[in-house]
C-alpha cells in the first residue's frame, strides 16, 4: 500500500493512500490545488475521499473536491458541512457498517472528539491484502483491532510539555481544557498501541502533532522504543 501524508497539523490535514488499483484521499483540509499537486494521480482518478469530521482543517476543500470525486463521511459530518451541490456524490456512512470503495473495503468506527459525529477508518485493500488504521482527532479509541499492517494515528501532545506551556502562559487554560477531551496524548497513544496486536505491523505514522505541545524527535523515539516498528512522523506540509 502506498501512503503519502500530504499535510498533518491543525492548519490542515490530507493523506493519500493507494493500492495501485484504487486511490483514496483521507481528509481534504488543505487547498485543492495543493492536493492536486501532491498526489501522483489526477483528481478525477480518485475513487473517493474519506472525511473524519467537519472541522475545517479536515474538510476545507470538500466542496470543490466534490466536482472530481465522491465523499464519504458520517451523516453528522455531512450535515455540518452542509454542501448543497453534488448531493449524489456525498455518501453518509455509519460506524461498523462496511463499505466498498473500488478495491478498498472500509469499516468506519467511532472517535471521541468535540465534533458532531467523528469517524475513524479501518481500510483494507483487496489487492495488497493489507489493513490500515486511520484515527485522528480523538482522545482515545474504544474498539480494538487485529492484524494491522499500517497504523496512522494522531499523537497530538505530551502532558508534561502542555503543562509547562500552561505554566508559562503560552497556552490559555480554556484551550488546554479542550485538548484533554479532544486530542490524543502521547501516553494514551502508547496505551492504545499496547492494547492492540502489532505483530503484522509494518509502519506507524504519527499524525497531527501539535505546534507547541509536542516534540517530534522524542515522540518518534518513544513510539519506536515501545513497538520496535518503523515510525514516520507526518509533516505539516
Amino acid at each position: 500500500m502506498e501512503i503519502i501524508p500530504i499535510a498533518s497539523s491543525s492548519l490542515g490535514n490530507c493523506y493519500y493512500i493507494s493500492d495501485g488499483s484504487s486511490h483514496l484521499l483521507i481528509e481534504c483540509g488543505i487547498r485543492l490545488d495543493k492536493i492536486a499537486k501532491a498526489i501522483p494521480v489526477n483528481l478525477t482518478e480518485l475513487s473517493g475521499c474519506l472525511i473524519t469530521h467537519e472541522h475545517k482543517d479536515h474538510s476545507l476543500s470538500a466542496e470543490k473536491l466534490l466536482r472530481y470525486c465522491h465523499i464519504f463521511a458520517s451523516k453528522g459530518t455531512l450535515d455540518e458541512l452542509c454542501i448543497e451541490t453534488y448531493k449524489y456524490k456525498q455518501h453518509a456512512i455509519k460506524h461498523n457498517e462496511t463499505i466498498r470503495i473500488g478495491t478498498f473495503v472500509i469499516i468506519p468506527f467511532e472517535l471521541q472528539h468535540d465534533a458532531k459525529e467523528p469517524l475513524g477508518y479501518l481500510v483494507y485493500s483487496t489487492v495488497t491484502k493489507e489493513k490500515l488504521l486511520f484515527a485522528t482527532d480523538t482522545f482515545y479509541i474504544k474498539p480494538k483491532f487485529a492484524g494491522l499492517d499500517y497504523i496512522m494515528i494522531e499523537c497530538n501532545y505530551a502532558k508534561e510539555i502542555l503543562k509547562k506551556n500552561i505554566d508559562r502562559g503560552k497556552i490559555p487554560k480554556v484551550v488546554a481544557n479542550r485538548l484533554h477531551s479532544s486530542h490524543f496524548e502521547l501516553e494514551n497513544v502508547k496505551e492504545f498501541l499496547k492494547a492492540n496486536d502489532l505483530s503484522q505491523c509494518k509502519a506507524i505514522y504519527l499524525m497531527h502533532l501539535s505546534d507547541g505541545n509536542s516534540d517530534e524527535a522524542r515522540f518518534k523515539h518513544e513510539i519506536m522504543a515501545l513497538t520496535g516498528k518503523p515510525v514516520i512522523v507526518c509533516q505539516k506540509g
Binding site: 473517493g48 455518501h91 473500488g102 483487496t126 482515545y140 477531551s181 494514551n188 496505551e191
Partner: protein, 310 residues
C-alpha cells in the same frame, strides 16, 4: 418512607434489592461516621438536625439525579463519591428537603453543592457567628457610606436606598454583612466584579441573566463565607469541610484533565475488535475502480402477486 418505597418498587426486582442494600450500607456508614465524629467532639450538629431524615431525603434526590448526558447518577458515580457527598452534606448539617443544596455529577464523582440557604445555615453554626449573613443589593442612586472596621477591613457603615431607585432597577453592586465576635464584616462587590466572578462559570450564564438579583446576593454571600472561613480560627471539622467543599466546586484547575483521563481509563481500548469480514475476498472486485456502497442484502419475500400466473 412510604414515598421511598414507591419509587424503588418501580425498578426491576433484583435491581431494587441491590439498590436498597446499597442505600442501607451507605446510610449506615455515613451515620456511623457522624456519630463517631460527634462523639469525639470534632463535630457539633444542631439539636434539631436528624441525620437519618436528611439521608433519606438525600437518597430520593440522588435517585433522581442525572449527569449531563442524562444517565442516572447511581450508574455513573463511584460508590466512594456518593458516600463522600452524603458525608459532606451531613457534616454541614444540610437537608436537601429544605433546599440546602443539590447533588451534582462531575464525571464519575457525585458532589454535594450547598445552596445559598445552605451556606447561610452552616455559617450560622460557626461559634463566632451570632446571626446569619444578610445580602443586600445596591441600586443606582443609593447612598452608600463605606468605612473600615476594627480589624481594618472595608465594611458598609450606612446604606440608604429609595423605592424609586429600586423601581428603576439598575443594579450597581451588592454587599453581604455578618457579625463575627461583635465585629461587623462585609463583602462588597461592584457589578463589574460580580460579572467577572460569573464569567468564571460560563455554564450558568442564562440563570445569571434571568435571576440577576438573587445570583448577585448569592455571589456576595459566597465571598463573605470564603472570607470568614479562611480567616476563621474555628478548628473544627465544619469549617474544614466547608472549605474543602468550596474548593471542590470553585477550583476547576485541572478538573477537565481528570475527567478526560478517567474516561480514557474506563473506556479506551475496551471495545470489541473491529475487523474486516472474512467473506470480503469472495466478492472481490479486483481492478474495478468503481464507487459502490455495500448494502445489506435484503431478503426477498415471495409475494402472492409474484406467484400468480399472469
Amino acid at each position: 418512607m412510604e414515598k421511598k418505597q414507591n419509587t424503588t418498587q418501580l425498578q426491576e426486582k433484583p435491581k431494587e434489592q441491590k439498590l436498597i442494600a446499597f442505600e442501607k450500607t451507605l446510610s449506615d456508614s455515613v451515620q456511623n461516621r457522624i456519630t463517631e465524629l460527634s462523639g469525639s467532639g470534632r463535630l457539633d450538629l444542631p439539636k434539631n438536625y436528624s441525620v437519618g431524615n436528611a439521608l433519606q431525603s438525600a437518597w430520593l434526590k440522588i435517585l433522581a439525579t442525572k449527569d449531563k448526558n442524562g444517565r442516572p447518577a447511581l450508574e455513573v458515580c463511584t460508590k466512594e463519591s456518593v458516600a463522600n457527598a452524603l458525608l459532606d452534606m451531613a457534616i454541614m448539617g444540610h437537608n436537601p428537603a429544605k433546599n440546602h443544596g443539590y447533588f451534582i455529577v462531575y464525571g464519575n464523582q457525585l458532589t454535594w453543592f450547598p445552596s445559598y440557604f445552605g451556606k447561610c445555615a452552616t455559617i450560622k453554626r460557626l461559634d463566632s457567628i451570632a446571626f446569619e449573613p444578610v445580602a443586600t443589593i445596591i441600586y443606582e442612586g443609593d447612598e452608600v457610606e463605606i468605612g473600615h472596621n476594627q480589624i481594618g477591613e472595608e465594611y458598609v457603615i450606612k446604606h440608604n436606598t429609595t423605592w424609586a431607585n429600586k423601581l428603576k432597577g439598575i443594579r450597581v453592586g451588592a454587599y453581604a454583612t455578618v457579625k463575627q465576635n461583635d465585629i461587623t464584616r462585609s463583602a462588597i462587590m461592584t457589578m463589574k466584579e460580580i460579572k467577572e466572578a460569573w464569567n468564571k462559570n460560563p455554564g450558568q450564564k442564562r440563570d445569571h441573566a434571568d435571576f440577576e438579583g438573587e445570583f448577585m446576593k448569592r455571589t456576595v454571600i459566597n465571598r463573605l463565607v470564603k472570607m470568614i472561613l479562611q480567616t476563621s480560627n474555628d478548628d473544627d471539622l465544619l469549617a474544614e469541610t466547608m472549605i474543602a467543599n468550596e474548593y471542590q466546586h470553585y477550583d476547576f484547575d485541572g478538573e477537565a484533565e481528570v475527567i478526560a483521563q478517567n474516561e480514557v481509563k474506563q473506556l479506551a481500548n475496551t471495545g470489541e475488535v473491529v475487523d474486516i469480514p472474512l467473506d470480503v475476498e469472495e466478492t472481490d472486485t479486483l481492478g474495478e475502480v468503481e464507487v459502490e456502497i455495500a448494502e445489506e442484502p435484503q431478503p426477498v419475500k415471495p409475494t402472492v402477486e409474484r406467484n400468480r400466473p399472469f
